[in-house]
């Protein structure tokens, strides 16, 4: 018996020694288990490169929108075992190439796999055939019609967004209350409000940047087109050149001209300001009662998420009242992307209902999926009500031959730069002709 016990002791000791040796070897050898020191073979790490813009944000802030997207990307990485690499571009200033320009360059040179595309680049690249048809992805059939309308180019669904972007006016309700102002429905009412603010010493009632003033134009231009019941015919007329975009857009430009003339917006500043960068600080500081921004910016932890005043988001003034403007963004996959297959699968995960639910819940936005509904925050309710009533204007529409979102922006920028309304209209006409010509 004692011999047995001794035997066990010796065995146990031997075992411990073996463990010790193993541990020592492990300690010395780190994580390597094999003799081959190459642990990351190119084949083993499946990379998907995603090109997206980068906001310039303040230190230590967490961007909820980005966090939401990240969550879905992590979901894809975990599900597929891929690694998504981000490539970003942000223009330093107005002199730099814009994100859209760089997007086009990169997409045309097959630099990346997935691109986060703005409405104008969706249409441009879609028409060039540089984007994959995503209609086969699992989430595609759940998409709302508004998304399909905006992102189907030449019969192909070329981009799927994670949120339906709705632009609206961000109102400092406190300031409106201070001057007993009603929230404006029409351009006239809006101008009146601005007048009151101006008279009351508000230097610039409307904070603007070089990107988003077009929303005023689009809201006024297409309020009737999208809500008048004759949309298809009107678009057909525009595509054929029968109608002119300039006719639709002139009131909006004149409205902006009026604003500029009256000093309700600081055109010079806006001309060189990036989105939110230029106007955000004043708005939050309650120097500016009105700015324009997209839905997500109202959410907590984003640009205007936590103001010291009562924030209300409403539609843009139009003949049909407050009008949300919805330009459709989306993720597209390069037709000749290096990792096209993984990119498609990654995007599939990112746009499946599960991911979109996570995204919508994190970001409190309107989901592109019919199956995902998220309660919006109080401030967004006026805007959301209109959308729920199906009263909105599309900021981009692939069925219009002339790209809207990018072109309108550029023309508005010309206005900011000092061009006259007529010159701007002429430019629109030229663009329309060009689009018709290229179509032919």
């Amino acid at each position: 018996m004692s011999r047995n016990r001794k035997g066990y002791t010796v065995k146990a000791a031997a075992l411990c020694m073996a463990c010790a040796v193993t541990l020592a070897a492990a300690a010395c050898g780190g994580k390597e288990n094999s003799n081959n020191l190459i642990i990351e073979d190119e084949e083993t790490v499946r990379e998907v490169v995603m090109f997206s813009p980068m906001e310039k944000t303040e230190a230590d802030t967490v961007n909820t929108a980005r966090s939401a997207a990240d969550k879905t990307i992590i979901m894809a990485e975990e599900k597929l075992g891929v690694s998504v690499s981000y490539v970003t571009y942000t223009a330093e200033d107005y002199q730099d190439k814009t994100y859209d320009e760089v997007t086009l360059d990169r997409a045309r040179n097959n630099m990346d796999d997935i691109y986060l595309l703005n409405p104008d680049t969706i249409q441009a690249l879609g028409e060039e055939g540089r984007l994959m048809d995503l209609s086969g992805l699992a989430g595609a059939e759940n998409l709302r019609d508004v998304v399909k309308t905006a992102n189907v180019v030449d019969g192909k669904l070329v981009a799927i967004p994670q949120e339906v972007v709705a632009y609206g006016l961000f109102i400092n309700q406190d300031m409106f209350d201070r001057y007993s102002l009603e929230l404006p429905q029409t351009p006239e009412e809006f101008l009146e409000c601005c007048r009151v603010f101006k008279e009351n010493g508000i230097e610039t009632p409307v904070g603007a940047n070089r990107w988003w003033l077009e929303t005023f134009v689009l809201a006024q231009a297409y309020a009737d087109l999208y809500n008048g019941g004759n949309t298809e015919a009107e678009i057909a007329a525009l595509n054929s050149g029968e109608s002119k975009y300039s006719d639709y857009m002139r009131p909006g430009f004149e409205f902006l001209q009026e604003m500029i003339d009256q000093g309700y917006i600081d055109a010079k500043k806006a001309y060189v300001s990036e989105a939110i960068e230029g106007e955000g600080a004043d708005f939050l500081a309650q120097k500016t009662p009105i700015v324009m921004a997209y839905w997500g910016a109202a959410n907590t932890d984003t640009a205007y998420g936590n103001p010291d005043f009562e924030l209300v988001v409403i539609g843009f003034p139009s003949s049909r009242g407050q009008m949300p403007v919805m330009p459709m963004t989306g993720f597209g996959v390069g037709a000749e992307a290096r990792h096209a297959e993984d990119a498609m699968r990654t995007l599939e995960v990112m746009t499946c209902d599960e991911a979109l639910k996570v995204y919508a819940e994190t970001n409190k936005v309107i989901s592109p999926s019919k199956n995902v509904e998220v309660e919006c925050i109080e401030a967004l309710k006026p805007l959301n009500d209109r959308i729920q009533e199906n009263v909105y204007v599309l900021g981009a529409n692939a069925s219009m031959k002339m790209e809207q979102w990018g072109n309108t922006c550029l023309v508005v920028r010309q206005l900011l730069g000092g061009a006259t309304v007529d010159e701007c209209m002429a430019e629109l006409d030229r663009l329309q002709e060009e689009s018709i010509r290229s179509d032919r």
Binding site: A13, A24, A27, K56, Y86, E92, K97
Partner: protein, 803 residues
């Protein structure tokens, strides 16, 4: 950082070097434009362009028109003498820089070669991540302070990768003084490293100058990551230390256990060794003792054998000399015979010991009488005692049965041993008592007898008493003492006693004497042949006169024989009894008369009795005296018996008296029993033995033919006439064919007499087993050498005449 820096610088240098080579090739090319187009598109050199000297527009490898307009070489940055432009976002939407170098032909600058490189290509040469991918690494164009290469893995998840300002803002760096210092360093192309918290965590921020400060590696490493790396190292060191310590302790533990085990084993071994040593010492001393005793024994034997041998040889010499003198010849042969007998007894003893020691002794139990036993012992011992002037007393008391079952020879051996020892170790004039005492019967089937042999001789020391029963020991060395013997006697005795299920013990005192006591039990035979004798002899009542207490013993013994014994203590009493009316003289058929009568002389008493009983045999019973013959003094039908009284002795005497007239017939019969005229075939390889055999047989007027081995014996027998030989005397150990085989062969012969002819084994193989083997082989009888002539004659007569 220096490694990364060196890598990047090496890449830049190689690019510059290669571009210069390209320029040289281009200079040599017939059509530089065609050569230019041949470069095509590569992952590193994304655009190759050329502007001829003196022109403002040139051409790119993709065929597009190229101007230097968009490129800014104003900063004068150079790599290996090749000018490097400011960084810009190129047509691919990625950060790039262009290097230009002149194309010189025949010492004259003919064109300028522009190659556009993208920073992404550097990315492939940089580590995928360091400090467990927690460190951030950007490449910054020093002049524009733009971050031209950013970590791909962070992207949207972190801010701060637009330009230096953005880096400051995103990382919350607002210290003017620090920023000024950084700016100074950037301008001077120096490295700088500073501590600053990044997103609430302590981090080491660095800006590392590359290519003389034209580009910078910037980024940060969380202190945590550094510490973690250190921690990992520390952990590993700790693990190693712990493992080493554990191993050390385990080793110690193992060593301790091992030592403990070793010491225990050592102790056990020592203990074992001690036991072994002790056993060895004992064995050694035993062996030494044995060796000593055997040496002594051999020495003794040498002496003991030499002595009679000397006598034999000496007397033989004398015999040769005095051959003419019959008296001397007889005397010498007698002495030679005695010496030979002594030698034989020595050899028998030795054989006995070896036999007993190897457990080969088998008792042969037969009926015997105490009378024969005592007589034979007495016959041997008394002369010896007498020779030493010792008195020898024999008494038998309380024995109920005289006829017993046992191995008489062996009992005899015991008694002879004890008594001869007593004689040997008792000085002249001493006394020796031999007593047979009947003990209380424990069972009706067994007679319990104690034999006592007592002397008042030298006695033994207590030390010797302990070893007395060991073989090869002797109280005194025979060479210094007159005592002769093998020293095996007591060992043999004890072994035989024990073999018989008895006990032997001894008590002795130096110079006072010794007493041996042997207790034995003998089975009482069922049939009593003697009873028949008494009946046939017509003796049913006898008168025992005198003898005192021994009379009762006689009474008891004779009772078994259905003979009534009337005891008379005096002659007068005897006479009265004889004359009494109840029984009368006729009632007594036998008278036993003790010579030590209290009143009158025994002969006189016998005379008076004879008057009354004219026919009844009268037997005198007296103590043994040397020289006296067992003949009754002048009275008819009388005989002499020596004490102690035995029924069998009485019977013999009575028979003798009754058969007195038949003596002459016996003599005649003896004559008839001689071997005269017989012819034997003897197989004997030893010439001397053969000679002796021949002589002995010729002495008996018999002839004998001797062959040298079994095979010859078989052949001779096969060839003989029927009845040519009366018997075959067969030695056992012979060359060619031994006796057993020869016997089997003879018995297997197809002759009528092959199965009948007596074959007598005559062999030195004297053990019982040898006898059995001989009988198994088909021999008729076994006779041990040396040949006893009388025995041989008797046997031959028995077998041959029987045939």
């Amino acid at each position: 950082m220096n490694l990364i820096k060196s890598t990047i610088e090496a890449i830049l240098n190689k690019e510059a070097e290669f571009q210069k080579l390209m320029a040289q090739e281009m200079a040599m090319a017939e059509d530089p434009e065609v050569h230019l187009r041949s470069y095509g598109n590569s992952q590193t050199m994304v655009k190759v362009s050329m502007i001829r000297a003196g022109e403002t527009e040139g051409i790119s490898d993709n065929g597009e028109v190229f101007t230097q307009k968009e490129l800014d070489f104003s900063a004068g940055r150079q790599v290996d003498g090749v000018a490097v432009s400011q960084s810009y976002v190129n047509y691919m939407g990625t950060w790039a820089y262009t290097m230009k170098c002149p194309v010189i032909k025949d010492g004259e600058e003919v064109a300028m070669l522009y190659v556009e490189y993208i920073y992404d290509s550097l990315d492939r040469s940089l580590p995928a991540g360091f400090y467990n991918k927690k460190a951030m690494l950007y490449i910054m164009d020093a002049q524009t302070e733009r971050l031209v290469l950013k970590p791909k893995g962070m992207g949207q998840r972190d801010a701060g990768h637009l330009n230096l300002k953005d880096f400051y803002r995103a990382n919350d760096i607002h210290d003017e003084e620090l920023m000024a210092e950084v700016n100074t360093c950037l301008k001077e192309g120096k490295n700088i490293m500073f501590n600053h918290d990044i997103r609430g965590k302590k981090a080491l921020n660095y800006m590392w100058s590359v290519n003389g400060g034209s580009i910078y590696l910037i980024g940060y490493v969380p202190i945590e990551a550094i510490q973690q790396e250190g921690t990992t190292v520390n952990q590993n060191i700790l693990i190693v230390v712990i493992v080493m310590l554990t191993a050390f302790f385990l080793c110690c533990l193992l060593y301790y256990f091992n030592q403990r085990q070793q010491s225990r084993i050592r102790k056990e071994q020592e203990a074992e060794r001690e036991i072994y040593n002790r056993q060895l010492a004992q064995a050694l001393s035993a062996a030494q003792a044995a060796s000593n005793s055997k040496t002594t024994f051999l020495s003794n034997m040498s002496h003991d054998i030499r002595t009679p041998m000397n006598a034999v040889l000496g007397f033989t010499t004398l015999l040769e000399r005095d051959a003419q003198d019959p008296d001397k010849v007889r005397e010498y042969t007698k002495k030679i015979m005695a010496s030979g007998q002594h030698l034989l007894s020595l050899i028998n003893d030795i054989l006995d010991v070896s036999k007993i020691e190897s457990g080969k002794v088998v008792l042969s139990v037969e009926e015997f009488t105490l009378n024969d036993l005592v007589s034979s012992v007495d016959a041997i011992i008394r002369p010896m005692a007498k020779a030493r002037e010792q008195k020898f007393f024999v008494t038998v008391t309380g024995v109920r049965h005289e006829y017993l079952l046992g191995d008489e020879t062996r009992i005899n051996q015991i008694l002879i041993n004890l008594l001869s020892n007593a004689v040997k170790y008792t000085p002249a004039g001493g006394n020796i008592w031999f007593r047979i005492i009947g003990r209380g019967q424990r069972s009706s089937q067994f007679e319990h007898i104690r034999i006592e042999v007592e002397d008042d001789g030298y006695g033994m020391t207590p030390e010797y008493l302990e070893r007395i029963f060991d073989a090869f020991t002797r109280a005194e060395n025979s060479t210094t003492n007159k005592v002769q013997g093998t020293g095996l006697g007591m060992a043999i005795t004890k072994n035989i006693v024990e073999l018989m299920g008895g006990t032997i013990d001894v008590s002795s005192e130096v110079d006072k004497g010794s007493i041996f006591r042997v207790d034995l039990e003998f089975r009482i035979p069922e049939g009593q042949a003697d009873r028949q004798f008494w009946k046939e002899s017509g003796i049913s009542r006898m008168l025992a006169l005198g003898g005192g207490q021994s009379g009762e013993s006689i009474q008891a013994l004779m009772e078994d024989m259905d003979v009534t014994v009337d005891l008379a203590q005096s002659t007068g009493e005897a006479m009265r009894m004889l004359q009494s009316s109840d029984i009368g003289a006729e009632g007594y058929q036998l008278v036993l008369l003790d010579c030590d009568l209290p009143d009158i002389d025994a002969v006189e008493a016998a005379g008076r009795i004879r008057e009354l009983l004219p026919e009844a045999p009268i037997l005198f019973l007296k103590e043994y005296e040397e020289g006296e013959e067992d003949r009754a003094p002048g009275i008819e039908k009388a005989g002499m018996m020596f004490k102690p009284f035995f029924v069998s002795a009485l019977k013999e005497k009575v028979r003798k008296i009754q058969n007195a007239g038949k003596a002459d017939e016996d003599a005649e019969k003896a004559q008839e029993d001689s071997l005269k005229g017989m012819n034997f075939l003897a197989a004997e390889d030893n010439e001397i033995n053969a000679e002796i055999l021949r002589e002995i047989l010729s002495m008996e007027n018999a002839s004998c033919e001797i062959v040298e081995n079994g095979k010859l014996a078989v052949e001779r027998f096969a060839a003989c006439r029927a009845g040519e030989f009366d018997a075959i005397l067969m030695d056992v150990q012979m060359p060619v064919m031994n006796g057993y085989e020869a016997t089997r062969a003879i018995r297997a012969l197809e002759r009528e007499d092959a199965g009948e002819i007596p074959i007598i084994a005559m062999t030195a193989n004297a053990f019982a087993e040898d006898e059995k083997e001989a009988l198994r082989a088909g021999m008729d009888v076994h006779l041990a050498k040396p040949v006893n002539v009388e025995l041989l004659k008797q046997i031959i007569r028995q077998y041959v005449i029987k045939k």
